[in-house]
Amino acid sequence: MGRMPTTSDSRRVVVTGVGAVCGFGWGVEPLETGLRAGATALLPFSRFDHSRHRTHLAAQVPEPPSGVAASFPAWRRLTQADRFALFAAAEAVSQAGLAAPLGPAAGVFFGSSTGGMFETELFYRELARKGGRPRLSALASQPVSGPGDAVGRHLQVAGPVRTISSACSSATLALGAALDAIRAGEVEVAIAGGSDSLCQLTYAGFNSLRAVAEGPCRPFREGRDGMSIGEGAAVFVLEPLALALQRGALPLAELAGAGSCCDAHHMTAPDPAGEGAAAAVEAALADAGVAAGRVDFVNAHGTGTPLNDAAEWRALERVFGPRGRLLPLTATKGAVGHLLGSAGAIEALATLLCLRAGEVHPTPGDGPVDPALPLALVTGRPLPLRAEVAVSVNLAFGGSNAALVLSRFPAPADRAA
């Protein structure tokens, strides 16, 4: 049993603003509505010509509502990933009651897997066109630090700006880095999250591994046959609890802990025993000072590939023991697809929304739960659950595993006080 937390505890970090862009639309509201409805944004898409690709579904972000483009300088020159990041960051900062310039007390901690790759591909599209004249300037958008830098520039951040590109756990690690930076007193406000856009490189790449399902992904279901790719961004404003309360901000939840661990096993296949993933979850729980028995639900990485889901279940079984079979489990990827470098952010946001709504969102997907994985997958409709603590897990290429612990605010001890 860890020590009893207090609102003056300098290790406590709260979320005071959130923002999102995903296949359901621009803003947190369409995401929450879609998740509660058990809907999926995995549909035929038009971001690029996929007629020669093996599969034909993705969760593409729709066109932005009118007025969005005019709200951001030089919108037309921004990459898709930059646009998603800026909109989500602006929404989060607005909810937190903050505004630019954020100055030296603020930092940006962002995850991205491919940054401006979609725009980089313009060069190759032109190269492939008969008589085409590819322009090298198209390649300037490639660095994956682009979305984080764009957010730092827009909000006039003068503290640290760091981009983590550890494939599908990038944003989870970025949120963990932000948590560290606040606890260390390096920053008082962290803008943390991730952004990635659809591009042919990842679409064809995952298809080359035969990891993409022809229909919408079906995490943890019997006969599941792969993942589905999405795009978008999610951003959190994080602050030390004491400072947030001092300035009258309304904490939405607490980011209680983060942990990570590497499988050191294989470049694409997860450790089948789930040791590394379990170690990441255990590290996050230890960081939060929370016993496994206090976790009320889990938002799993849940890609829908046969190997990944099985390994993840074994990891959860290692951490939660027999109780793992009863622990409500959801997988946001069934709704918005796999957002790759920003998956950890959108899934942590889905977890936060569940904590606040008092219900766990269902995992879209047809068919029964895989009988080989005796878990309590939430399906069909939201599961009413007044949860206090939840875990969000992400597993990446190269065995980079990461997990976050989010908790309801105020916590029971705060309420008793």
């Binding site: 020669r52 994956v144 630090s145 190269g398």
Partner: protein, 410 residues
């Protein structure tokens, strides 16, 4: 810091880099300009030594991209230099609690380019699973983890030129927070003809001065009035970081101690350029020194990330002067004229400087820039520093600093 592994144009290992730094001459190779380059412009780059068979056997190398091979070779060199063998590869030994933190500015470029060519010039269905797997930015870090059975955090940072120092800082933080006993931290990069052409297209690279034979080799001129760009460099550098007590217990030789690290952002910078925010960066730099219990006057040596970039070096000089005020700067080394930009050679050079390794005169520097008022090392002996400041300002606005203390002070 207890181990150093480095591969670059200078060759493999610290002795090769020491020789290059003493001679103050970069090892440059001609880049294939037949496909993407415009006429004129840069022709050479500091391309890394690729003879790594002694560190990455062929049977292992065939499953790795060029940057993964460079990174794994540097990691094994670093472990051996630290007296830790070449990793925990023996069956039955417990997995080490070691974090891997690696930075890359552009990721495994040849794999990305090869994959995109397959997708767009042939067919999406011809995409190679190997190229895709190795094209992800964290592939080198993951290959290090697999090769050495490092099972701590696996983090890949991408913050352009600031990345290597951020990687060391993040690795040190993993240890300081008690999450790992050790960290392998560093940087890796590869320069392809296309990446070289893009950097040249944006005027980032040093250019030949004329058609005469002696003028055809481009020279990076850190802080020089005539500077016109940097040398593109590739390679990998990995450091072994350990908790001080842990290193002492096993009798390890300490190369340096990470006294503090810090980073900041200049939001006046354009996405591909440097800004005007010297005052703000100087404030962050001074706060970084304060975290080590130091003031600017306590710094004995600066290892600057100045590369020969017109605007980047200007911002670096203005930032240092703003931090030091009226006080004179300590000796300034600017080794990127030898190591090139990217690939971590600069980070390795900084660690050698802390140990008092002799440096030749600053490559490319001859004519001071009156605006910068900064005169980098002109050769000759330097005192072994107690406190060394390592700096790196990145295009796009990021900045990072590292404060390294002399081993005796550890």
């Amino acid at each position: 810091m207890t181990g150093l592994g480095t591969v670059g144009a200078f060759g493999c290992g610290r002795q090769a880099l020491e020789a290059a730094l003493r001679s103050a001459r970069p090892a440059l190779s001609l880049v294939d300009r037949s496909l993407y380059h415009r006429t004129g412009g840069a022709r050479r780059a500091a391309l890394a030594c690729r003879n790594l068979a002694g560190w990455v056997p062929p049977a292992e190398a065939r499953r790795m991209s060029a940057p993964s091979r460079l990174a794994v070779a540097a990691a094994r060199m670093a472990l051996e230099d630290a007296g830790l063998g070449r990793g925990w590869t023996s069956p039955g030994r417990p997995p080490a609690e070691t974090a891997v933190v690696v930075s890359t500015a552009f990721g495994p470029s040849s794999c990305t380019e090869g994959l995109l060519q397959q997708i767009f010039l042939d067919s999406p269905e011809s995409a190679s699973p190997f190229l895709f797997t190795e094209s992800v930015a964290n592939a080198p870090a993951a290959q290090i983890a697999i090769a050495t059975r490092a099972r701590g955090a696996g983090i890949t940072l991408s913050q352009r030129e600031a990345g290597p120092l951020l990687a060391v800082g993040s690795g040190a933080a993993e240890i300081a927070l008690g999450r790992s006993r050790r960290a392998l931290a560093g940087s890796v990069e590869e320069i392809t003809p296309l990446l070289h052409a893009v950097l040249d297209r944006f005027g980032a690279l040093a250019r030949p001065r004329g058609l005469a034979e002696e003028e055809q080799e481009e020279v990076a001129r850190p802080f020089d009035r005539r500077r016109d760009g940097f040398l593109a460099g590739e390679g990998a550098t990995v450091l072994v970081l350990e908790e001080v007590g842990e290193a002492r217990r096993r009798g390890a030789r300490a190369l340096a101690r990470v006294a503090a690290w810090g980073s900041a952002f200049d939001s006046t910078a354009a996405p591909t350029g440097w800004g005007e925010g010297a005052a703000g960066l100087a404030g962050a730099l001074v706060r970084c020194l304060e975290r080590a219990g130091l003031r600017p006057g306590d710094v004995d040596l600066i290892v600057s990330g100045a590369s020969g970039s017109r605007e980047g070096d200007r911002l670096e000089a203005l930032t240092l002067h703003a931090a030091w005020g009226e006080a004179p700067l300590p000796p300034v080394l600017a080794p990127k004229g030898v190591t090139g930009e990217y690939g971590g050679g600069f980070l390795a050079a900084a660690l050698l400087a802390v140990q008092g390794v002799p440096f030749g005169p600053t490559a490319g520097f001859a004519e001071p820039d009156p605006e910068l008022r900064l005169f980098p090392h002109g050769g000759g002996p330097l005192p072994t520093p107690r406190n060394t400041l390592v700096t790196s300002l990145a295009a796009g606005g990021a900045a990072a600093w590292l404060v390294l203390a002399r081993p005796e002070a550890a």
